[in-house]
Symmetry: C2
Subunit: 257 residues, 2 copies
Amino acid sequence: MGTNMPLDWSAVSHVTKVDPAEDLPADLGILGGTDLVIVGGSDGVTQENSLDVIRRIKSRFPDLPVFQEPYSSSHVSTETVEAADYLSVPAVYNGDQQNFVSKHLEFFTEIGNKPEEIVGSSLPVVGGLIASRGRDAIAELSEKVVGEGYVIQNLGSKAAGVSGVEREFTTEEVAGAALATESFYGFPIFYVEYSGTYGGPADVEAAAQYLDDTVLLYGGGIERNEQTHEILDAGADAVVVGDCFHDEPEQFRETLP
Amino acid sequence: MGTNMPLDWSAVSHVTKVDPAEDLPADLGILGGTDLVIVGGSDGVTQENSLDVIRRIKSRFPDLPVFQEPYSSSHVSTETVEAADYLSVPAVYNGDQQNFVSKHLEFFTEIGNKPEEIVGSSLPVVGGLIASRGRDAIAELSEKVVGEGYVIQNLGSKAAGVSGVEREFTTEEVAGAALATESFYGFPIFYVEYSGTYGGPADVEAAAQYLDDTVLLYGGGIERNEQTHEILDAGADAVVVGDCFHDEPEQFRETLP
Protein backbone atom coordinates (compact mmCIF):
# COMPACT_ATOMS: atom_id res chain seq x y z
CA MET A 1 0.00 0.00 0.00
CA GLY A 2 1.29 3.41 -0.91
CA THR A 3 0.38 6.24 -3.24
CA ASN A 4 1.90 9.30 -4.75
CA MET A 5 0.13 11.42 -2.18
CA PRO A 6 2.43 12.94 0.40
CA LEU A 7 0.35 11.36 3.15
CA ASP A 8 1.55 8.58 5.42
CA TRP A 9 -1.19 5.99 5.05
CA SER A 10 0.62 3.60 7.36
CA ALA A 11 -0.42 5.94 10.17
CA VAL A 12 -4.08 5.83 9.13
CA SER A 13 -6.30 3.00 10.37
CA HIS A 14 -9.38 4.94 11.48
CA VAL A 15 -11.12 7.50 9.30
CA THR A 16 -14.11 9.59 10.32
CA LYS A 17 -16.66 10.60 7.73
CA VAL A 18 -18.27 13.84 8.78
CA ASP A 19 -21.53 14.79 7.10
CA PRO A 20 -21.67 18.56 6.74
CA ALA A 21 -25.46 18.46 6.57
CA GLU A 22 -25.70 17.00 10.07
CA ASP A 23 -24.99 18.58 13.44
CA LEU A 24 -21.52 18.14 14.82
CA PRO A 25 -21.20 16.67 18.30
CA ALA A 26 -20.93 19.23 21.09
CA ASP A 27 -17.34 18.26 21.77
CA LEU A 28 -15.18 17.90 18.64
CA GLY A 29 -12.47 16.53 20.91
CA ILE A 30 -13.57 12.98 20.13
CA LEU A 31 -11.82 13.42 16.79
CA GLY A 32 -8.54 13.29 18.71
CA GLY A 33 -8.47 9.52 18.25
CA THR A 34 -9.08 9.38 14.52
CA ASP A 35 -6.37 9.57 11.86
CA LEU A 36 -8.09 11.29 8.95
CA VAL A 37 -11.40 13.02 8.26
CA ILE A 38 -13.51 12.84 5.11
CA VAL A 39 -16.09 15.61 4.84
CA GLY A 40 -19.00 14.53 2.69
CA GLY A 41 -22.56 13.27 2.67
CA SER A 42 -25.26 12.22 0.26
CA ASP A 43 -27.99 14.78 0.95
CA GLY A 44 -28.15 18.46 1.79
CA VAL A 45 -24.47 19.12 1.24
CA THR A 46 -23.52 22.65 0.18
CA GLN A 47 -20.36 24.67 -0.33
CA GLU A 48 -21.16 26.62 2.79
CA ASN A 49 -21.76 23.76 5.21
CA SER A 50 -18.76 21.89 3.76
CA LEU A 51 -16.47 24.87 4.29
CA ASP A 52 -17.79 25.47 7.78
CA VAL A 53 -17.10 21.89 8.87
CA ILE A 54 -13.66 21.73 7.25
CA ARG A 55 -12.65 24.95 8.99
CA ARG A 56 -14.00 23.92 12.38
CA ILE A 57 -12.10 20.66 12.26
CA LYS A 58 -8.91 22.27 10.99
CA SER A 59 -9.01 24.97 13.64
CA ARG A 60 -9.27 22.37 16.41
CA PHE A 61 -6.89 19.81 14.84
CA PRO A 62 -4.59 21.61 12.40
CA ASP A 63 -2.52 18.50 11.67
CA LEU A 64 -5.39 16.11 11.06
CA PRO A 65 -5.66 15.38 7.30
CA VAL A 66 -9.03 16.46 5.93
CA PHE A 67 -10.47 15.29 2.60
CA GLN A 68 -13.47 16.95 1.01
CA GLU A 69 -15.51 14.33 -0.84
CA PRO A 70 -18.22 16.07 -2.89
CA TYR A 71 -20.87 14.25 -4.88
CA SER A 72 -21.45 17.33 -6.99
CA SER A 73 -19.08 20.03 -8.14
CA SER A 74 -21.46 22.55 -6.61
CA HIS A 75 -20.05 21.58 -3.20
CA VAL A 76 -16.62 22.78 -4.18
CA SER A 77 -15.37 26.34 -3.98
CA THR A 78 -12.04 28.09 -4.00
CA GLU A 79 -12.29 28.22 -0.23
CA THR A 80 -13.07 24.54 0.29
CA VAL A 81 -10.17 23.56 -1.96
CA GLU A 82 -7.83 25.75 0.01
CA ALA A 83 -9.14 24.67 3.40
CA ALA A 84 -9.03 20.90 2.78
CA ASP A 85 -5.90 18.89 2.13
CA TYR A 86 -7.39 16.84 -0.69
CA LEU A 87 -10.45 16.72 -2.90
CA SER A 88 -11.43 13.06 -3.03
CA VAL A 89 -13.68 12.21 -5.96
CA PRO A 90 -15.55 8.90 -6.10
CA ALA A 91 -15.73 6.92 -9.33
CA VAL A 92 -18.47 4.38 -8.70
CA TYR A 93 -17.75 1.09 -10.47
CA ASN A 94 -21.29 -0.17 -10.01
CA GLY A 95 -22.83 3.26 -10.58
CA ASP A 96 -24.20 4.64 -13.81
CA GLN A 97 -22.04 6.09 -16.58
CA GLN A 98 -22.53 9.58 -15.19
CA ASN A 99 -20.94 8.51 -11.91
CA PHE A 100 -18.02 6.66 -13.35
CA VAL A 101 -16.93 8.87 -16.20
CA SER A 102 -19.25 11.55 -17.54
CA LYS A 103 -19.29 13.94 -14.63
CA HIS A 104 -15.54 13.69 -14.24
CA LEU A 105 -15.00 14.60 -17.88
CA GLU A 106 -17.37 17.53 -17.49
CA PHE A 107 -15.52 18.61 -14.37
CA PHE A 108 -12.09 18.51 -15.98
CA THR A 109 -13.36 20.03 -19.21
CA GLU A 110 -14.73 22.97 -17.27
CA ILE A 111 -11.54 23.26 -15.27
CA GLY A 112 -9.34 23.23 -18.30
CA ASN A 113 -11.08 25.16 -20.93
CA LYS A 114 -13.46 27.93 -20.13
CA PRO A 115 -12.18 29.71 -17.09
CA GLU A 116 -13.78 33.07 -17.78
CA GLU A 117 -17.15 31.68 -18.76
CA ILE A 118 -17.62 29.59 -15.67
CA VAL A 119 -17.02 32.17 -13.00
CA GLY A 120 -20.10 31.88 -10.87
CA SER A 121 -21.27 28.78 -12.69
CA SER A 122 -21.79 25.39 -11.13
CA LEU A 123 -18.06 25.19 -10.71
CA PRO A 124 -17.14 28.28 -8.74
CA VAL A 125 -13.87 26.74 -7.74
CA VAL A 126 -12.63 27.03 -11.25
CA GLY A 127 -13.59 30.57 -11.99
CA GLY A 128 -12.21 31.85 -8.74
CA LEU A 129 -8.98 29.96 -8.83
CA ILE A 130 -8.27 30.60 -12.45
CA ALA A 131 -9.28 34.22 -12.50
CA SER A 132 -6.95 34.94 -9.62
CA ARG A 133 -4.01 32.73 -10.34
CA GLY A 134 -4.22 31.46 -13.88
CA ARG A 135 -2.90 28.20 -15.23
CA ASP A 136 -0.92 27.32 -12.14
CA ALA A 137 -4.25 26.96 -10.40
CA ILE A 138 -5.23 24.14 -12.74
CA ALA A 139 -2.10 22.24 -11.81
CA GLU A 140 -2.66 22.98 -8.13
CA LEU A 141 -6.25 21.81 -8.23
CA SER A 142 -5.32 18.73 -10.21
CA GLU A 143 -2.73 17.79 -7.63
CA LYS A 144 -5.32 17.97 -4.89
CA VAL A 145 -7.74 15.67 -6.67
CA VAL A 146 -7.62 12.08 -5.44
CA GLY A 147 -9.63 9.46 -7.31
CA GLU A 148 -11.46 6.82 -5.32
CA GLY A 149 -12.61 3.64 -7.01
CA TYR A 150 -15.89 2.95 -5.19
CA VAL A 151 -18.16 -0.01 -4.87
CA ILE A 152 -21.43 0.76 -3.11
CA GLN A 153 -22.86 -2.38 -1.54
CA ASN A 154 -26.12 -1.14 -0.02
CA LEU A 155 -28.77 -0.62 -2.66
CA GLY A 156 -31.12 1.06 -0.21
CA SER A 157 -28.67 3.80 0.76
CA LYS A 158 -28.74 7.40 -0.38
CA ALA A 159 -25.21 6.93 -1.64
CA ALA A 160 -26.47 4.25 -4.02
CA GLY A 161 -29.30 6.52 -5.12
CA VAL A 162 -27.15 9.55 -5.97
CA SER A 163 -24.66 7.32 -7.79
CA GLY A 164 -27.10 5.43 -9.96
CA VAL A 165 -26.25 2.08 -8.41
CA GLU A 166 -28.74 -0.57 -9.47
CA ARG A 167 -26.90 -3.69 -8.45
CA GLU A 168 -24.58 -4.74 -5.64
CA PHE A 169 -21.42 -6.54 -6.71
CA THR A 170 -20.67 -10.15 -5.83
CA THR A 171 -17.54 -10.75 -3.78
CA GLU A 172 -15.83 -11.90 -6.98
CA GLU A 173 -16.76 -8.69 -8.74
CA VAL A 174 -15.44 -6.64 -5.83
CA ALA A 175 -12.16 -8.48 -6.18
CA GLY A 176 -12.19 -7.79 -9.93
CA ALA A 177 -12.82 -4.10 -9.36
CA ALA A 178 -9.93 -4.04 -6.89
CA LEU A 179 -7.63 -5.69 -9.41
CA ALA A 180 -8.81 -3.25 -12.09
CA THR A 181 -8.06 -0.35 -9.74
CA GLU A 182 -4.58 -1.65 -9.00
CA SER A 183 -3.71 -2.63 -12.56
CA PHE A 184 -5.69 -0.43 -14.93
CA TYR A 185 -7.46 2.58 -13.43
CA GLY A 186 -4.92 4.45 -11.37
CA PHE A 187 -7.04 5.51 -8.42
CA PRO A 188 -4.93 5.63 -5.26
CA ILE A 189 -7.88 4.50 -3.12
CA PHE A 190 -10.30 1.57 -3.40
CA TYR A 191 -13.35 2.04 -1.21
CA VAL A 192 -15.91 -0.59 -0.23
CA GLU A 193 -18.97 1.30 1.02
CA TYR A 194 -21.76 -0.49 2.88
CA SER A 195 -23.27 2.86 3.86
CA GLY A 196 -25.13 2.37 7.13
CA THR A 197 -25.01 -1.43 7.28
CA TYR A 198 -22.18 -3.67 8.43
CA GLY A 199 -21.02 -5.79 5.50
CA GLY A 200 -18.49 -7.97 7.26
CA PRO A 201 -15.00 -8.84 6.08
CA ALA A 202 -15.66 -10.88 2.91
CA ASP A 203 -15.40 -8.07 0.33
CA VAL A 204 -12.38 -6.60 2.09
CA GLU A 205 -10.59 -9.93 2.11
CA ALA A 206 -11.34 -10.45 -1.57
CA ALA A 207 -10.14 -6.96 -2.52
CA ALA A 208 -7.07 -6.90 -0.29
CA GLN A 209 -5.39 -9.78 -2.07
CA TYR A 210 -4.89 -7.62 -5.19
CA LEU A 211 -4.02 -4.25 -3.68
CA ASP A 212 -0.37 -3.33 -3.24
CA ASP A 213 -0.16 0.28 -4.39
CA THR A 214 -3.78 1.10 -3.61
CA VAL A 215 -5.19 2.08 -0.22
CA LEU A 216 -8.18 -0.03 0.84
CA LEU A 217 -10.94 1.65 2.83
CA TYR A 218 -14.07 0.05 4.21
CA GLY A 219 -17.09 2.03 5.40
CA GLY A 220 -20.50 1.02 6.71
CA GLY A 221 -22.11 0.13 9.98
CA ILE A 222 -19.02 0.09 12.17
CA GLU A 223 -20.18 0.56 15.76
CA ARG A 224 -17.96 -1.68 17.84
CA ASN A 225 -14.28 -2.23 18.37
CA GLU A 226 -14.57 -5.88 17.27
CA GLN A 227 -15.90 -4.77 13.89
CA THR A 228 -13.02 -2.37 13.41
CA HIS A 229 -10.58 -5.16 14.11
CA GLU A 230 -12.41 -7.66 11.95
CA ILE A 231 -12.16 -5.29 8.98
CA LEU A 232 -8.54 -4.35 9.63
CA ASP A 233 -7.61 -8.02 10.08
CA ALA A 234 -9.26 -8.77 6.74
CA GLY A 235 -6.79 -6.43 5.07
CA ALA A 236 -8.32 -2.95 5.00
CA ASP A 237 -5.91 -0.10 5.55
CA ALA A 238 -8.56 1.75 7.50
CA VAL A 239 -12.19 1.68 8.57
CA VAL A 240 -14.38 4.67 7.87
CA VAL A 241 -16.82 5.52 10.66
CA GLY A 242 -19.64 7.91 10.01
CA ASP A 243 -23.10 7.78 11.51
CA CYS A 244 -22.22 7.26 15.16
CA PHE A 245 -19.82 10.20 15.10
CA HIS A 246 -22.82 12.49 14.85
CA ASP A 247 -25.23 10.54 17.01
CA GLU A 248 -23.40 8.49 19.59
CA PRO A 249 -20.07 9.93 20.69
CA GLU A 250 -19.51 7.14 23.21
CA GLN A 251 -20.14 4.52 20.58
CA PHE A 252 -17.81 6.37 18.23
CA ARG A 253 -15.01 6.06 20.77
CA GLU A 254 -15.51 2.30 20.81
CA THR A 255 -14.79 2.09 17.09
CA LEU A 256 -11.24 3.31 17.56
CA PRO A 257 -8.70 0.54 17.00
CA MET B 1 5.86 12.59 -20.37
CA GLY B 2 6.86 9.37 -18.69
CA THR B 3 5.20 6.31 -17.23
CA ASN B 4 5.97 3.44 -14.94
CA MET B 5 6.52 1.23 -17.96
CA PRO B 6 10.13 0.26 -18.48
CA LEU B 7 9.95 1.62 -22.00
CA ASP B 8 11.84 4.68 -23.20
CA TRP B 9 9.07 6.79 -24.73
CA SER B 10 11.51 9.55 -25.56
CA ALA B 11 12.82 7.24 -28.28
CA VAL B 12 9.34 6.73 -29.73
CA SER B 13 7.94 9.22 -32.22
CA HIS B 14 6.56 6.88 -34.87
CA VAL B 15 4.27 3.95 -34.09
CA THR B 16 2.94 1.48 -36.64
CA LYS B 17 -0.47 -0.07 -36.11
CA VAL B 18 -0.55 -3.47 -37.76
CA ASP B 19 -3.94 -5.01 -38.39
CA PRO B 20 -3.69 -8.78 -37.99
CA ALA B 21 -6.73 -9.28 -40.21
CA GLU B 22 -4.97 -7.67 -43.18
CA ASP B 23 -2.11 -8.93 -45.31
CA LEU B 24 1.35 -7.88 -44.27
CA PRO B 25 3.51 -6.18 -46.90
CA ALA B 26 5.83 -8.51 -48.77
CA ASP B 27 8.88 -6.96 -47.14
CA LEU B 28 8.56 -6.41 -43.37
CA GLY B 29 11.83 -4.51 -43.54
CA ILE B 30 9.94 -1.24 -43.83
CA LEU B 31 9.30 -1.57 -40.08
CA GLY B 32 12.99 -0.81 -39.57
CA GLY B 33 12.16 2.87 -39.37
CA THR B 34 9.37 2.72 -36.84
CA ASP B 35 9.85 2.83 -33.06
CA LEU B 36 7.00 0.68 -31.76
CA VAL B 37 4.29 -1.59 -33.15
CA ILE B 38 0.70 -1.93 -31.99
CA VAL B 39 -1.02 -5.08 -33.23
CA GLY B 40 -4.75 -4.59 -33.38
CA GLY B 41 -7.72 -3.92 -35.63
CA SER B 42 -11.45 -3.44 -35.47
CA ASP B 43 -12.71 -6.36 -37.55
CA GLY B 44 -11.75 -9.96 -38.12
CA VAL B 45 -9.13 -10.07 -35.37
CA THR B 46 -8.51 -13.46 -33.76
CA GLN B 47 -6.06 -14.97 -31.30
CA GLU B 48 -4.45 -16.85 -34.13
CA ASN B 49 -3.87 -14.00 -36.56
CA SER B 50 -2.74 -11.75 -33.67
CA LEU B 51 -0.18 -14.29 -32.50
CA ASP B 52 1.05 -14.90 -36.04
CA VAL B 53 1.67 -11.20 -36.66
CA ILE B 54 3.31 -10.60 -33.28
CA ARG B 55 5.66 -13.51 -33.83
CA ARG B 56 6.56 -12.53 -37.39
CA ILE B 57 7.43 -9.01 -36.30
CA LYS B 58 9.37 -10.17 -33.25
CA SER B 59 11.35 -12.69 -35.25
CA ARG B 60 12.43 -10.01 -37.74
CA PHE B 61 12.89 -7.20 -35.17
CA PRO B 62 13.47 -8.75 -31.73
CA ASP B 63 14.11 -5.39 -30.03
CA LEU B 64 11.13 -3.52 -31.46
CA PRO B 65 8.51 -3.06 -28.72
CA VAL B 66 5.22 -4.74 -29.68
CA PHE B 67 1.88 -4.01 -28.02
CA GLN B 68 -1.15 -6.19 -28.52
CA GLU B 69 -4.28 -4.03 -28.47
CA PRO B 70 -7.36 -6.30 -28.42
CA TYR B 71 -10.91 -5.04 -28.61
CA SER B 72 -12.17 -8.29 -27.14
CA SER B 73 -10.62 -10.64 -24.64
CA SER B 74 -11.12 -13.42 -27.17
CA HIS B 75 -8.09 -12.03 -29.03
CA VAL B 76 -5.84 -12.74 -26.08
CA SER B 77 -4.20 -16.05 -25.27
CA THR B 78 -1.36 -17.23 -23.10
CA GLU B 79 0.78 -17.20 -26.21
CA THR B 80 -0.08 -13.67 -27.30
CA VAL B 81 0.63 -12.35 -23.79
CA GLU B 82 3.99 -14.05 -23.77
CA ALA B 83 4.87 -12.99 -27.31
CA ALA B 84 3.99 -9.30 -26.98
CA ASP B 85 5.68 -6.85 -24.64
CA TYR B 86 2.46 -5.23 -23.44
CA LEU B 87 -1.27 -5.72 -23.61
CA SER B 88 -2.69 -2.25 -24.30
CA VAL B 89 -6.36 -1.94 -23.44
CA PRO B 90 -8.41 1.03 -24.67
CA ALA B 91 -10.85 2.77 -22.33
CA VAL B 92 -12.98 4.88 -24.66
CA TYR B 93 -14.05 8.14 -23.00
CA ASN B 94 -16.69 8.83 -25.60
CA GLY B 95 -17.68 5.19 -25.91
CA ASP B 96 -20.50 3.43 -24.14
CA GLN B 97 -20.29 2.19 -20.56
CA GLN B 98 -19.28 -1.25 -21.77
CA ASN B 99 -16.21 0.24 -23.44
CA PHE B 100 -15.11 2.45 -20.60
CA VAL B 101 -15.67 0.30 -17.56
CA SER B 102 -17.88 -2.79 -17.79
CA LYS B 103 -15.75 -4.98 -19.99
CA HIS B 104 -12.64 -4.13 -17.98
CA LEU B 105 -14.31 -5.15 -14.75
CA GLU B 106 -15.45 -8.37 -16.35
CA PHE B 107 -11.94 -8.99 -17.60
CA PHE B 108 -10.30 -8.43 -14.23
CA THR B 109 -13.02 -10.31 -12.39
CA GLU B 110 -12.41 -13.32 -14.60
CA ILE B 111 -8.67 -13.00 -14.21
CA GLY B 112 -8.82 -12.81 -10.47
CA ASN B 113 -11.51 -15.09 -9.33
CA LYS B 114 -12.43 -18.16 -11.25
CA PRO B 115 -9.30 -19.57 -12.77
CA GLU B 116 -10.47 -23.17 -13.02
CA GLU B 117 -13.89 -22.36 -14.41
CA ILE B 118 -12.67 -20.22 -17.24
CA VAL B 119 -10.16 -22.54 -18.83
CA GLY B 120 -11.28 -22.68 -22.40
CA SER B 121 -13.76 -19.86 -21.92
CA SER B 122 -13.70 -16.56 -23.74
CA LEU B 123 -10.60 -15.71 -21.74
CA PRO B 124 -8.18 -18.51 -22.58
CA VAL B 125 -5.29 -16.41 -21.37
CA VAL B 126 -6.51 -16.75 -17.86
CA GLY B 127 -7.15 -20.40 -17.71
CA GLY B 128 -3.85 -21.24 -19.32
CA LEU B 129 -1.72 -18.86 -17.35
CA ILE B 130 -3.29 -19.60 -14.04
CA ALA B 131 -3.55 -23.32 -14.46
CA SER B 132 0.15 -23.49 -15.26
CA ARG B 133 1.65 -20.91 -12.99
CA GLY B 134 -0.89 -19.89 -10.37
CA ARG B 135 -1.22 -16.56 -8.67
CA ASP B 136 2.08 -15.18 -9.92
CA ALA B 137 0.52 -15.24 -13.35
CA ILE B 138 -2.10 -12.75 -12.25
CA ALA B 139 0.58 -10.34 -11.15
CA GLU B 140 2.53 -10.94 -14.36
CA LEU B 141 -0.48 -10.35 -16.56
CA SER B 142 -1.46 -7.27 -14.58
CA GLU B 143 1.97 -5.79 -15.07
CA LYS B 144 1.67 -6.24 -18.81
CA VAL B 145 -1.65 -4.44 -19.03
CA VAL B 146 -1.39 -0.82 -20.12
CA GLY B 147 -4.49 1.35 -20.02
CA GLU B 148 -5.10 3.77 -22.87
CA GLY B 149 -7.53 6.64 -22.41
CA TYR B 150 -9.05 6.87 -25.91
CA VAL B 151 -11.08 9.47 -27.72
CA ILE B 152 -12.41 8.28 -31.08
CA GLN B 153 -13.04 11.22 -33.37
CA ASN B 154 -14.42 9.57 -36.47
CA LEU B 155 -18.02 8.50 -36.03
CA GLY B 156 -18.04 6.61 -39.32
CA SER B 157 -15.12 4.36 -38.41
CA LYS B 158 -15.31 0.73 -37.37
CA ALA B 159 -13.43 1.68 -34.22
CA ALA B 160 -16.31 3.98 -33.28
CA GLY B 161 -18.80 1.25 -34.03
CA VAL B 162 -17.19 -1.44 -31.89
CA SER B 163 -16.73 1.05 -29.03
CA GLY B 164 -20.26 2.40 -28.92
CA VAL B 165 -19.17 5.94 -29.80
CA GLU B 166 -22.18 8.08 -30.65
CA ARG B 167 -20.61 11.52 -30.48
CA GLU B 168 -17.28 13.06 -31.33
CA PHE B 169 -15.77 15.28 -28.63
CA THR B 170 -15.21 19.01 -29.06
CA THR B 171 -11.63 20.20 -28.77
CA GLU B 172 -12.46 21.44 -25.27
CA GLU B 173 -13.76 18.02 -24.28
CA VAL B 174 -10.62 16.37 -25.65
CA ALA B 175 -8.58 18.69 -23.44
CA GLY B 176 -10.81 17.81 -20.47
CA ALA B 177 -10.38 14.10 -21.13
CA ALA B 178 -6.62 14.63 -21.29
CA LEU B 179 -6.64 16.49 -17.98
CA ALA B 180 -8.82 13.76 -16.45
CA THR B 181 -6.34 11.14 -17.69
CA GLU B 182 -3.40 12.99 -16.21
CA SER B 183 -5.08 13.91 -12.92
CA PHE B 184 -7.70 11.30 -12.17
CA TYR B 185 -7.68 8.13 -14.25
CA GLY B 186 -4.16 6.82 -14.21
CA PHE B 187 -3.82 5.61 -17.77
CA PRO B 188 -0.21 6.00 -18.95
CA ILE B 189 -1.35 6.74 -22.52
CA PHE B 190 -3.86 9.24 -23.96
CA TYR B 191 -4.79 8.41 -27.52
CA VAL B 192 -6.58 10.65 -30.02
CA GLU B 193 -7.88 8.37 -32.76
CA TYR B 194 -9.17 9.78 -36.05
CA SER B 195 -9.20 6.30 -37.56
CA GLY B 196 -8.72 6.67 -41.31
CA THR B 197 -9.11 10.44 -41.57
CA TYR B 198 -6.56 13.17 -40.86
CA GLY B 199 -7.83 15.28 -37.96
CA GLY B 200 -5.14 17.94 -37.90
CA PRO B 201 -3.30 19.26 -34.88
CA ALA B 202 -6.09 21.00 -32.89
CA ASP B 203 -7.03 18.14 -30.55
CA VAL B 204 -3.38 17.26 -29.99
CA GLU B 205 -2.52 20.83 -29.09
CA ALA B 206 -5.44 21.01 -26.69
CA ALA B 207 -4.55 17.72 -25.01
CA ALA B 208 -0.80 18.26 -24.86
CA GLN B 209 -1.05 21.27 -22.59
CA TYR B 210 -2.23 19.05 -19.71
CA LEU B 211 -0.09 15.95 -20.19
CA ASP B 212 3.13 15.65 -18.24
CA ASP B 213 3.15 12.05 -16.99
CA THR B 214 0.97 10.72 -19.80
CA VAL B 215 2.14 9.70 -23.27
CA LEU B 216 0.13 11.39 -26.06
CA LEU B 217 -0.51 9.39 -29.23
CA TYR B 218 -2.32 10.56 -32.34
CA GLY B 219 -3.62 8.19 -35.02
CA GLY B 220 -5.60 8.72 -38.19
CA GLY B 221 -4.98 9.53 -41.82
CA ILE B 222 -1.23 10.17 -41.63
CA GLU B 223 0.15 9.73 -45.15
CA ARG B 224 2.80 12.40 -45.55
CA ASN B 225 5.88 13.55 -43.72
CA GLU B 226 4.40 17.03 -43.22
CA GLN B 227 1.47 15.55 -41.33
CA THR B 228 3.78 13.62 -39.04
CA HIS B 229 5.65 16.79 -38.24
CA GLU B 230 2.51 18.85 -37.81
CA ILE B 231 1.24 16.38 -35.18
CA LEU B 232 4.59 16.08 -33.42
CA ASP B 233 4.99 19.85 -33.41
CA ALA B 234 1.55 20.14 -31.83
CA GLY B 235 2.79 18.15 -28.87
CA ALA B 236 2.14 14.48 -29.58
CA ASP B 237 4.78 12.07 -28.37
CA ALA B 238 4.22 9.94 -31.42
CA VAL B 239 2.08 9.49 -34.49
CA VAL B 240 0.43 6.15 -35.14
CA VAL B 241 0.41 5.09 -38.79
CA GLY B 242 -1.80 2.25 -39.89
CA ASP B 243 -3.54 1.91 -43.21
CA CYS B 244 -0.71 2.76 -45.54
CA PHE B 245 1.57 0.23 -43.86
CA HIS B 246 -0.53 -2.51 -45.39
CA ASP B 247 -1.36 -0.87 -48.69
CA GLU B 248 1.32 1.59 -49.71
CA PRO B 249 4.79 0.76 -48.42
CA GLU B 250 6.33 3.74 -50.22
CA GLN B 251 3.81 6.10 -48.69
CA PHE B 252 4.44 4.50 -45.29
CA ARG B 253 8.12 5.40 -45.58
CA GLU B 254 7.17 9.02 -46.12
CA THR B 255 5.40 9.14 -42.78
CA LEU B 256 8.62 8.51 -40.87
CA PRO B 257 9.80 11.63 -39.02
